[in-house]
Subunit: 216 residues, 2 copies
């Protein structure tokens, strides 16, 4: 009973902190503002997190758990690798727009380059997932045999990171789907096997159409 309440309080603190960081930025938010946003005492806050950085890392972990969940489902569903990679990019964009924990977590991941312990796990985990998607795409003959899947996975994660940062600054992420579509139109020619080009050149549009009809 007491343990259930502790779990609930911890989740409320994470939600409150995400909202406060999103509003004011991590650097300018005090722990007093976090406890007010979460509706808990400062004592409860310190019981669960011993520093602002520990709180940021907890938000990053919660976001990462949520985002990799979507990736894992695509891997388990045995969707074709290249389709899964493109689909994943639009799903992450949706989470960034609709989910405060994801939005705050991704922003904090980028600011965390300055933390006492830089946060690298999200990048490394996503690179591994993308590599798996690309490897499957290669096995299926969709990805050209000449593509270095490790290098491509690493670049894809970096490019996605940049696309969402710039979309955030310029349009508060309002244009992120359009910018991802631009990204795919420039990356796909370097990824797709020439003999599969006619089938896959509209992959980004095809994925978006299926996502639009699948939505409840």
């Amino acid at each position: 009973m007491q343990q259930a309440r502790a779990v609930e309080t911890r989740a409320a603190i994470i939600r409150g902190a995400a909202a406060a960081f999103e509003q004011r930025g991590y650097g300018s938010t005090s722990l007093t503002q976090v406890s007010a946003a979460a509706g808990v005492t400062k004592g409860a806050l310190y019981f669960h997190f011993d520093s602002k950085e520990a709180l940021a890392v907890a938000i990053i972990d919660a976001q990462h758990e949520e985002s990799v969940g979507a990736g894992r489902r695509l891997l388990d569903d045995n969707v074709p690798g290249l389709w899964a990679l493109v689909s994943m990019s639009y799903e992450l964009a949706r989470q960034l727009r609709d989910d405060l924990i994801v939005s705050a977590g991704v922003r904090l991941t980028i600011e965390a380059a300055n933390f006492t312990t830089p946060v690298s796990a999200p990048y490394v985990d996503w690179m591994a997932a993308c590599e798996e998607f690309l490897q499957r795409g290669k096995a299926a003959g969709d990805v050209a045999p000449t593509v270095d899947v490790q290098a491509a996975a690493r670049f894809f994660i970096a490019a996605f990171t940049g696309v969402q940062v710039v979309s955030d600054v310029l349009t508060k992420r309002g244009d992120i789907d359009l910018r991802l579509t631009d990204m795919w139109s420039l990356i796909l020619p370097g990824l797709v096997a020439p003999e599969r080009w006619d089938d896959l050149k509209n992959l980004a549009a095809d994925v978006q159409r299926e996502r639009a009809t699948a939505r409840p």
Copy 2:
């Protein structure tokens, strides 16, 4: 005389602040630490900058001035557009590694997504410069006529942003040249006109070779 000293003090504050922000991160650096790093009194600091945010914006401006200078020289030199674009990416990477103001300025530009006035000019200016490079590349027949140069310029800036963020987190920018080379090997097939492919497929390696020999 007094004015010259004021200019010098302002420059010393910018250098000191860049060093302090790079060491501790913008959010965790106090103005007391900045005045110590710059070797000026807090009074002198407040005479020149009325907030930490104003100081960050001044560093971003100084960095942007320095970085666009390199872009402007390439535009004036009438180097072929696509060569200039690739060359610019490696020059910016060098500045990020070797120049504290550039390194701090770029990091602050990304954190500035959370400032009271988000900083968007660097992205917008760079997109315009890249569009000009790509337009020249298209006029020269190097860039495929089907390429949307505005979309490509926008994506290139986003991709570069992400590549340097991820390289910073994972290797303190130690692998940035390698990651740029990966980027070009994936983007060039979507940019280059098919009939120019044989001449340009090794463009990134050619540019790096020329930069290595040109260096004093």
